[in-house]
Amino acid sequence: MSDPGDTNALRGEVLPVAIFAAIALTMPLWFPWIGGYSGLDTKILIFVIFVLGFDLLLGFTGYLSFGHAAFFGTSAYTTGLTLLHFSAEIIPAMLMSVLVTFVLALLIGLLLTKRTGIYFAILTLAFASMLYRAALSIFSDWTGGDNGLTGLPTPVLFGQPLHDTPMFLLVAAFAILGFWIALRIARSPFGLMLRAIKSNQERLAYTGVDVSLYKLWGFIVSGLYGGVAGSLMVIYEPYVATHFLHWTMSGEVVIMAVIGGVGTLIGPMIGAGFMMYFENVASAWIGEQWLLVLGLLFVLIMMYMPGGFMEGGRRLRAWFRHRRGIADAPTPEENDTHG
């Protein structure tokens, strides 16, 4: 069928998802060629899920959360505790984690719907920091304190232990699904509403839209992505680090999104891959000063490529076109996803 709606859907969702799926699923084949290793590819895809949710909040609604680690970490602990005390089967653990994350996001979200800008950022940071500190002290009998939650059983799915390849496939499936849902949300009326909140929420409120409700749902959906990522992280590791709740974890996901290009979904995913790769592979080549190099990179990228990697890509494409002497109008896809 050559219905224009269909081609749009193809260009808009099916094609990007298919390309992402192809890249993600073949990762174990090509990743080792650039110094990667099994395990890291899994971790990268977990962070892809995390950062997708973060971008749905920051990139679409315009809210900077500086405490997204709260969702990742709380879910991680929930998964860990369920695996430890209830069953090594991951399905109850994941369901439980999603439920707990939902409640947490709902609670924080309800308190914060009226807060904006830096106040929102600091409040999310404060909530996450309280959870982190509580995990270290008040709840240390359950969380294992700074030693983390250890001694977890090998997680199983329908009785099958989840190791390397099955684990990777599980995470990849969630990442692909997560990307598809994120694209759907971005193109749905709900996504449009979130974007309207970003551009001018007062005007939106005048039209009779319940802005708070949309914001709350945006926040919850974003948090749930973090929750799923956190749960998968523990199923992959089987170990929970207090670091999962730390503010640097929240900071890391901010960096991934910004360095990749906020609001593009694809950019933050690239950002996640880059950060993980840099921290774990490139760092070994660079040696002791790897963090210095990374800091310099942040400054340079922000100075000269404000839109992150996505802008770099766009500029590169424009340059190629220019060289070929073809002055193309921007494709509708570009107008859509990079808005």
Partner: protein
């Protein structure tokens, strides 16, 4: 008043003093330039490193003369070189670029001086303890307190008053305060707001330098100290109300007292400053003394 309560009050005051010194520059930059400066902790740290080096070579008094101006200069360069390009950019970009600067400063210092602590002794005129009971007759028995911490309180108060005076009673201060409200109008009036913005950033850095120099002998000097103070000082600024100098003072005192009086209760101590931040911001959305429309 029992000795115990008096000492806790005093400790709360001096804990607040360090927070205040660090937060002061931050709130100034926040309020005036609208920049979320994650590099502020790094500037504080630079003050401490320059302090320990200069004080070690030439004595502490010369360090007092040199460190704040040096930090002012570093601040100016930073603003002209990098920060000025970020005034109209989203906060996330500002955060990332200043976070990048913070990492660069931290890692460069680690590279040069190592990750280990550099001992920063208090100068001879400021070390030892003060026999408080000799001056305060209501105390009974022996009550001592480190002299340096008392000096720190005095330095903080002087700095706050000086900054307040500068903003309140000078033409420069008038323009800056107006710029905090609405920089567009000032530009329209033909005032060179850019140059003043650069000076404000330098000023914020200079105050961070004072904090680093006088705080250094207390907090010690190592590459992690910048990050250690980053989050608490942000909380002080936000609790106080973005861009409000009196707000920062109030919030710093509040946190200092809370930390001091919760010392024995470890579980509360761990979360107290975050708890206060949450309660204050939920009750008063713009912080204790914040104004409407600043950085929302």
């Amino acid at each position: 008043m029992s000795n115990a309560v008096f000492l806790q009050l005093l400790t709360g005051l001096q804990l607040g003093a360090i927070y205040m010194l660090i937060a002061l520059g931050l709130t100034l930059i926040f309020g005036t330039l609208g920049v979320v400066n994650f590099a502020h902790g790094a500037l504080f740290m630079l003050g401490a490193y320059l302090g320990v080096i200069i004080a070690g070579e030439t004595g502490f008094l010369l360090a007092i003369l040199l460190v704040p101006p040096l930090l002012f200069l570093i601040g100016l360069l930073l603003e002209r070189g990098i920060i000025q390009h970020f005034y109209d950019r989203p906060h996330t970009d500002q955060i990332l670029v200043t976070f990048g600067i913070a990492i660069v400063v931290q890692e460069a210092l680690k590279w040069i001086f190592g990750a280990n602590n550099i001992p920063f002794p208090t100068p001879s005129w400021g070390s030892g303890v003060v026999m408080l009971h000799e001056y305060l007759p209501f105390l009974d028995g022996i009550v001592v307190y480190p002299q340096w911490r008392l000096i720190l309180v005095v330095v903080s108060l002087v700095t706050v008053l000086a900054l307040f005076g500068l903003l309140q009673f000078t033409r420069f201060g008038l323009v800056v305060r107006a710029g905090m409200r609405d920089s567009e109008i000032l530009r329209f009036l033909g005032i060179n707001i850019e140059r003043r913005f650069a000076i404000v950033f330098g000023l914020g850095a200079g105050i961070a330098g004072i904090a680093g120099l006088f705080g250094g002998p207390v907090t010690q000097v190592y590459p992690g100290i910048g990050m250690a103070y980053l989050v608490p000082s942000f909380l002080v600024v936000v609790i106080g109300g973005m861009g409000s100098v009196p707000g920062a003072v109030l919030a710093a005192l509040l946190l200092g007292m809370a930390l001091s009086f919760s010392a024995e209760y470890s579980n509360i101590q761990q979360i107290i400053i975050y708890l206060i931040a949450v309660i204050v911001l939920l009750v008063r959305p713009r912080g204790l003394l914040g104004k409407k429309g600043v950085l929302e």
